[in-house]
């Protein structure tokens, strides 16, 4: 099993992410891409800037990936999250998973993107066609008491 998680300022190459997973024992290989869309609540969007608390976000992303891989027993899982300035159509997050059967791959992939939205310390600022910009309303992470 290989689990890989990283933040990057460089454009995400879907084929490279896909290439990180899969083996002869796998009957399912899936790739999820989150991309920058050209509208938000009916307002034209030109792009999004992603800011991160990098030191913590790397740890949290690894944690999420590890939890997903353990919980569904998938073979390989790679998740890459982009930071910096992105234009419409660019990939903001890529999740590749391989497992013997499809159900586990889909569930693990879904878990990773949902947990990213709940607890990864990353924020996005939308740039609109009218020249304005604003931070996207997010989700308040639950404080997790440390043992």
């Amino acid at each position: 099993m290989s689990v890989h998680a990283a933040l990057t300022v460089d454009p995400v190459e879907p084929a490279a992410v896909l290439g990180c997973v899969g083996g002869s024992g796998d009957g399912a290989v899936i790739l999820f891409l989150g991309t920058v869309r050209d509208h938000a609540d009916g307002r034209p969007v030109l792009g999004i800037r992603y800011d991160a608390y990098e030191a913590m976000a790397s740890d949290v992303l690894r944690e999420i990936a590890g939890e997903a891989a353990d919980r569904w027993g998938v073979d390989d899982l790679t998740v890459i999250h982009r930071t910096g300035e992105l234009s419409v159509g660019e990939v903001s997050v890529a999740i590749a998973v391989s497992s013997p059967h499809r159900a586990e791959a889909y569930d693990a992939s879904r878990f990773v993107i949902e947990e990213i939205k709940k607890r990864l310390p990353v924020w996005k600022k939308e740039r609109y066609a009218d020249g304005q910009d604003s931070w996207v309303q997010g989700t308040t992470p639950e404080p997790v008491p440390r043992s």
């Binding site: 989150g34 992603y50 800011d51 991160a52 608390y53 030191a55 913590m56 976000a57 740890d59 999250h81 903001s92 997050v93 993107i113 990213i116 939205k117 709940k118 607890r119 990864l120 310390p121 990353v122 924020w123 996005k124 600022k125 931070w135 996207v136 309303q137 997010g138 989700t139 308040t140 992470p141 639950e142 404080p143 997790v144 008491p145 440390r146």
Partner: protein
């Protein structure tokens, strides 16, 4: 007294006008004490929520968490990754 570093991101960073502020807190102070002390400075700090999500040394923490000298306390606005 102990010095801790308060970190601000995204909307909080815009509000405060800085990504990092050194704060002196009394020995035995908790996250809640730090938040109250910062907000007590007045503008712009009083614009921070009274119970923001925080991370102490890169782990999410409760407001009852005690602080030690050198701790890094990040104020985490609602997250929006993905």
């Amino acid at each position: 007294m102990a010095t801790v570093t308060a970190l601000f991101f995204a909307a909080y960073r815009d509000l405060v006008g800085s990504g990092s502020v050194a704060v002196e807190v009394p020995d035995g102070a908790t996250v809640a004490d730090l938040v109250a002390s910062l907000r007590g400075r007045g503008a712009p700090f009083d614009g921070l929520p009274s119970e923001p999500a925080v991370a102490v040394n890169r782990s999410y923490a409760a407001h009852s968490e005690p602080l030690r000298a050198g701790d890094e306390v990040a104020f985490i606005p609602p997250v929006a990754g993905g």
